[in-house]
């Protein structure tokens, strides 16, 4: 950590670093409250419609969901490596690790897109006015499941796209930035990226592993 502060609001660089970290974690905390509330809505709906949610969940592709979880975990590893590499002063390698993180994020979105397309084709997407038809004991519960499935995975995907934009911004200014700035930005975007990974870690069993 160099001695200079970026903002004159801070007495010294250590104070500024602590305030930065505090702000980032508060942001992550508010995001956790948002996703927590969404998952709570899902849980209450599921308790009201256990059978419909079980039937509906088994229509999702467990294979693609599992692959995507592995992809996202790998992207988090790449992000953690980027953080380590910047810290070691290996800026070039760190930039490649950030690029790998972004590519894995894109791969996740691509797989999610394939899943969405399958679900739309099978008439399982009760969103955007698309036709929805479900044969089973509890079609109303199944519809509720798919509404919450698209809401929660859509919200998650929007966050992932935000993360991709943040990585792109960091990389675009990479060469012109100081080592300290690169480290700070990698750390900030990394914290967010890992959080988005954690959200998926909970969404995956909630949505894909209800009842098989």
């Amino acid at each position: 950590m160099s001695g200079a502060v970026e903002s004159e609001a801070f007495r010294d660089a250590e104070r500024e670093r602590q305030a930065d970290a505090f702000g980032r974690w508060i942001f992550i905390g508010s995001e956790a409250m948002l996703f927590g509330a969404v998952m709570l809505v899902y849980l209450t709906a599921r308790m009201a419609h256990p059978e419909g949610f079980g039937e509906a969940s088994s229509r999702l592709s467990l294979l693609l969901g599992t692959v995507n979880t592995a992809v996202l975990i790998t992207s988090s590893l790449a992000m953690a490596l980027a953080d380590l590499l910047v810290k070691l002063g290996r800026r070039r390698a760190a930039a490649w690790a950030l690029a790998a993180t972004a590519l894995l994020g894109l791969a996740f979105l691509a797989v999610k897109g394939v899943e969405y397309a399958d679900e739309v084709r099978e008439g399982l997407a009760p969103v955007l006015g698309l036709p929805f038809a479900f044969e089973g004991a509890d079609p109303r519960g199944a519809q509720l499941f798919f509404e919450l499935y698209f809401a929660s995975t859509g919200l998650h995907a929007a966050h992932l796209i935000g993360g991709l934009a943040a990585i792109a911004t960091v990389l675009a200014t990479w060469r012109r930035s100081t080592d300290a700035a690169c480290l700070r930005r990698t750390r900030a975007v990394g914290l967010y990226w890992h959080f988005v990974d954690i959200v998926w870690v909970f969404l995956f069993p909630l949505l894909y592993l209800v009842h098989r």
Binding site: G36, L40, F202, P205
Partner: protein, 83 residues
């Protein structure tokens, strides 16, 4: 290098837990499948928070945020699910 080994251990642990949670879906645990899956998800989240987000190395303020969020989420979930 120590740091790399730490990250590799986290990665292998996360993939192992993923395999475990998917495998558990094919075994009937008599009503405890969901609880097991959520416990595994919590373990994965802890691995990510500790080894990737380096939560223990943060100062007292970030840790305070995590505790506060956990507390408020616990209140939110407890009051809703009890009602």
């Amino acid at each position: 290098m120590n740091e790399v080994r730490r990250l590799a251990a986290a990665y292998v642990g996360l993939l192992a837990l993923l395999a475990l949670t998917v495998a558990s879906a094919f075994v009937d645990l008599g009503g405890f499948n969901s609880a097991a899956n959520l416990a595994i998800a919590a373990a994965k989240a802890a691995l990510i928070a500790v080894l990737f987000m380096q939560l223990p190395r943060q100062g007292v303020l970030p840790r305070l945020v995590v505790v506060a969020v956990a507390l408020w989420l616990a209140i939110l979930f407890a009051l809703t699910l009890a009602g």
